[in-house]
Structures are given as C-alpha cells and as structure tokens.
C-alpha cells in the first residue's frame, strides 16, 4: 500500500499535506481510490467556500459506491482541483499528486495531533 511519509491521514482515508505557504492540501488515499474503484464523478466545493471541521467537502462517486469526502480541519477553500473534476480518473491514477482535491486556508491554528502518520495509517488499514 502506497502511503507517502510526508502526509497526515484520517480514519476516513483522506490525506493532508502542510504546504510551505501555510495552506493545507487534501485528497484521498491510494487505498481509498482502490476501494472505490474507477471514479466517474467528483464534486468539489467552489473557491471561497468554508469547510467546517469534520464536515463534508465533496463527493467521489464510482460505479460501486458514493463516498463523502471529509476534512478533519476547518478552513476556507483557496483552490479546488478542476482538472480532477473534469477527469476524475486522475484520482485513481495519481491520488497523492495530480489527483489532489482541495487547498484549504486553515481557520486559526490547524491541529494535526489527532491525525495519523503514514506508519500509523498503514497499520490501521492493514489491521
């Protein structure tokens, strides 16, 4: 299972990356895209939308299932990956890079303490 070590992970299979500019990038993990299967539809929020902690920021739909996307931190959407909404297959091909979903400007000090490291996430999903 591919789990890049520079990311934080949630129990609901999202990853978060702290960017140098203070923004946070979110996407779903390789495991999640594998479980969903080929994604045929991706709904992401508009730029400027505000996301509440543990709230939904979008929907990924495959031929098997519909998955809600959750953010463990609150913030404002600075960018959504329109390439991925136009071609949702990007999320399957490159979940951690080209298939990123949104960039958030965290509200206040974002707390990453409750999130999992790559090692913890790999162990969680292997269990």
């Amino acid at each position: 299972m591919n789990t890049p070590t520079d990311l934080f992970y949630t129990e609901s299979d999202e990853w978060l990356r702290r960017e140098d500019d203070g923004l946070v990038t979110l996407g779903i993990t390789d495991y999640a895209q594998g479980e969903l299967g080929e994604i045929v539809y991706l709904e992401l929020p508009e730029q400027g939308a505000s996301i509440v902690k543990d709230g939904s920021f979008g929907v990924a739909e495959s031929v098997k299932a519909v998955g809600e996307l959750h953010s463990p931190i609150a913030g404002e959407v600075v960018a959504a990956n329109t390439q991925a909404t136009e071609n949702p297959g990007l999320v399957n091909e490159s979940p951690f890079e080209n298939g990123w979903m949104i960039r958030l400007k965290p509200t206040g000090e974002a707390n990453f303490d409750s999130l999992m490291s790559a090692e913890e996430y790999a162990a969680y999903r292997a269990a």
Partner: protein, 507 residues
C-alpha cells in the same frame, strides 16, 4: 455453456425505408404548417410491424426479471408478483374509474384506499396512515415534514435541526434528511451489527429532531435494542422514524409501533408484492402515531358517519399534498389484494419463510464466503468476498458478473458499505428449496473457479449478449443518441456498422 443469446440490433439498424406499417388515417382536415420546426430531418427508423414486435420481444428476453430468473437482490425484496394482483387491478370497476369522478360514483375505490389505510396502520401498530406518498423515499420525505411540523408546533422547530442515522440504515435515509434541510449525524454499528448505543447516547443532543432507523437493518440484523433506543430518543424530545423497507422480515411478527416507533413507511413493491417495474409507479404509504396524525397529507380518505367514504381536505395542520390526484391507487389496490389474500396468518408465514430462506442460504455458503451474520440473519444475509479477493484477486464484482452465466441475477454488491466486498442476498419467501439450492451450488462453483481460473471470472459474463461492460465509461460518457455511421466505419468482415455498447446494468 452455450451462447443462447445474441446482441439484438437497434431498431435503427433494422430500418428498411418504405417498409414501415402505415396506420395513419387519411388526412381529413386542411393541411397546416407548424409555426416552427425544431428538427427538419428526423432520421426515424422504418420497420414493419412484425419486425418491431420481434425486436421488442427479443429485447425482453435478453434481460433478467422475477418472472424469468431468481433475483436475490438484497434490500430490494424481489418477490414474485402474483398475477392475481394484476387480475384485480384490471377489473373494469377499478380500471375504468377517473380520479376526477364524484365521490358518490367512486365509493368502491375510496373503500379500497380507506381499508388500505386502516390495515397498514394495524400492521405498523400505529394509529393512522396515508396512502399518498409515491415511493419509499417520498414516504421518508413526508415523514420528515410531519416530524418538523410536530416540533414547530412545540416551538422547537428551529432548535431541532439534526437527524441521527445509524450507518446500517437504508441509504435513502440520510439523503431524505438532507433533502429536508436537516444536518445528518451518522452513528456507527457495534460488533454485532446493531446500533452502538453509547454512540447513540452521545449523538442524541437537544438539537436532534429524529432518529431514522431501519429495522431489521441493512446487515439483515434485527435491532434488539430498539425499545431502549426509542425510549432514549423520546426522553431527549426526539421522534423515531423507521424505514419499513425490511418489513418482509417481521411482517405479522412484530409491530414497529409497539417498539416505540412514531412514524414509518412501507415499500409496497417490496413487502406487498407490487411490481418494481421500470421505476414506477410506486407507493410508499406512511403510518403514524396519533401525535403526528394531524399532519398527514391531504386529501386523506375518511369514512363518514353514514358509512360512505370521501376525501378529507379539511386538515389545517396537514403538511400539504405530495402530488396531483390521489396517490398511485392501482399500486395500493395490488398491495391490498396481496394482504387480503394472505390474511393475518398468511402474512406471518410470509416473514417466517423469508427469514428461513435467507438463513438456509447463509448456512450453505458461510463456510466458503465470510459473513457479517455469524449469528444468523433475518430476511437477507450479507456475505463477503474479502478472502477470495485477497487470495485470488476475485472481487464481489467478478462474482456478480459471473452469476448470470449460471442463470441467476446478481445479489446487491458493495452494499452495505460497512462490509468489504459485500454481497447482500435476499431470496424472499417465494422461491422453492430447489431454486435456493441451485443458487448455492452456483455460488460454490464460482468460489471454486476463483481458485482454479480467476481470469475467467474477471472476464465474466461469458454467455450473455454482451461481455463485461465498461461501466465507468458508460457513467462518464453515456451516449444514447443514434447517428448513422459513416460508410468507412463498417466492419471489413461482415459489412455491419461498428457499434460500441454503452450502458450499464444498475444494482
């Protein structure tokens, strides 16, 4: 297995200009031009009547239906639809009545609807019922509107903005709640597949309008803590909505009203054998406790003191009407036919046999497939292909695609979502033991194929008119428009136009 089915050409491909049967009478009014023309060239197929009949007959034979195949689609209760229902619905006294006829000349119909209301309320163990909602999801919508009206009446409508839904509830429940503007809190299941009561206690804050529960739930497990759960919700000032989709498991055995449920809907196409057909028409009657009765939609069917029946529009607290006219009465009539034909003891036998069938399948298959029902199930069992996937790369999807080759419709797959590689099998009470055995043999044979020839399963089905469809592409780029193919696109060998098959079956 022989390939007995072949790909049916499109009507466009059968077109032979000049061959169409002509039934239009001669023009006997002055000819007039349309003020505008949307499409000057209409490339409609021209086919003679006999060929059209054969075309659609062949198409109808290229599909699976309850009348042709075992259809164990979990959560959907694909039981046999007795032809008696159709015979009754076709009686001229029912079929020939217009919904705008006077009450005086529609007494028979009104009595049918009134009796359906009464009987459904009785089966629910609740006080009143409306036959108006057109589907289960509209029943949910109606129930939630009534719940909101109830809280509004107590001055708590604003405050109570949240619906709590267990993760083993029917998938439409959170969608209906969101549709009604409620926030949704999901509560996880415990190890036994029931609601985690500690999580439920935590979720039940004073902003909760209702708990929406499906009982038995989508794991095929009866929520044994339902009484405690309802009491907890009521202490908190919230109401309890029960999705009646799985009533086939408890029909005549237990009444939701006795469990503490305040409002529920029935899916008559599941529990009471009305057709699932083609997305409608359907019916999703809602039954309610007396506290919600004033909010039932209008018009409601009532019986006057003199005994005659009529439409009651004088219900000032009603949530409104859910559609034009009176509900899909023909569907309610079929459901009432089924109920009266069985009687109370017969309905109890229905649920007993449905539960027995599901447990029989579970017992025969649980050694080979993992199960979410180690302690038995109600009317449906949930198996998993996780082990086959890990060992041989064969998924629930592959198994579902292989089953048609053995003559069976696939079960529901990848639902419930809380079980990996899930296959949800609901045999219903209307199948013989021989059919159940044949299905189990097919499932066991496929598990063997997973070991010996997994690649075969990746390419299944092998004997259907079309092989494995590209369902992702069909979802992303569905093209339902016919365009006459240019000459160069013709196949060299056959001279037939090339054609891509798009379109995916839905589970």
């Amino acid at each position: 297995m022989p390939n007995s089915l072949s790909l049916e050409p499109l009507l466009f491909e059968l077109s032979d200009p000049g061959s169409a049967s002509d039934y239009l009478p001669p023009l006997d009014v002055p000819e007039a031009s349309l003020p505008f023309v949307v499409r000057p060239e209409l490339d409609l197929p021209e086919v003679d009547e006999h060929s059209v009949v054969r075309h659609f007959t062949r198409l109808s034979q290229n599909t699976f239906s309850i009348d042709t195949h075992f259809y164990p689609l979990g959560s959907c209760t694909m039981k046999y639809n007795p032809k008696l229902n159709e015979a009754v619905a076709a009686m001229p006294g029912f079929a020939g009545v217009h919904p705008l006829q006077s009450e005086a000349t529609s007494q028979g119909w009104l009595e049918v609807l009134f009796r359906a209301q009464e009987i459904l309320a009785q089966i629910a163990g609740l006080d009143a019922c409306s036959i108006q909602p057109l589907a289960g999801a509209q029943g949910e919508f109606c129930g939630l509107l009534m719940i909101r009206a109830y809280h509004n009446g107590r001055g708590e409508g604003e405050k109570r903005c949240r619906i709590v839904v267990p993760d083993s509830a029917h998938g439409t429940n959170p969608a209906s709640a969101a549709r009604c503007g409620y926030a949704v809190t999901t509560v996880k299941s415990n190890a036994e597949g029931g609601v985690d009561m500690d999580a439920m206690r935590t979720a039940l804050k004073d902003d909760v309008a209702a708990v929406m529960i499906t009982n038995p739930n989508t794991l095929g497990v009866f929520e044994a803590q339902i009484e405690e759960l309802c009491a907890l919700a009521h202490e908190n000032g919230a109401l309890v909505y029960m999705d009646g989709a799985n009533m086939n498991a408890i029909l005549g055995q237990a009444r939701p009203g006795d469990m503490g449920v305040d409002v529920m809907h029935f899916n008559v196409h599941k529990t009471f054998s009305t057709p699932h057909g083609g997305g409608g028409p359907g019916a999703g009657p809602v039954a309610v406790r007396s506290i919600l009765e004033p909010f039932l939609p209008v018009p409601h069917v009532k019986q006057h003191e003199g005994g005659e029946f009529g439409w009651d529009w004088d219900r000032p607290d009603a949530v409104g009407s859910l559609h034009g006219f009176r509900g899909n009465s023909g569907v309610i009539l079929r459901a009432l036919t089924y109920i009266l034909r069985h009687g109370g003891n017969g309905l109890r036998q229905v649920s007993s046999d449905a539960v027995l069938s599901a447990n029989y399948i579970l017992a025969r298959l649980k050694g080979v497939y993992e199960t979410a029902n180690p302690n038995g199930c109600k009317h449906e069992c949930v198996l998993s292909a996780s082990k086959l996937k890990a060992q041989y790369g064969v998924s629930a999807w592959d198994i579902a695609k292989r089953l048609p080759d053995y003559g069976f419709h696939a079960p529901t797959v990848y639902f419930p979502t809380i079980v990996k590689e899930s296959m949800m099998i609901e045999p219903t009470e209307t199948e013989t033991k021989a059919t159940l055995d044949a299905f189990c043999e097919a499932m066991l044979a496929i598990a063997e194929e997973a070991k010996t020839d997994p690649d075969l399963l990746h390419h299944a089905p092998l004997t259907m008119p079309v092989g494995r469809l590209d369902e992702a592409n069909a979802a992303k780029c569905l093209n339902l428009c016919w365009t006459t193919p240019p000459a160069e696109a013709a196949c060299e060998s056959t001279g037939e136009p090339k054609r891509e098959v798009a379109g995916a079956p839905t589970y």
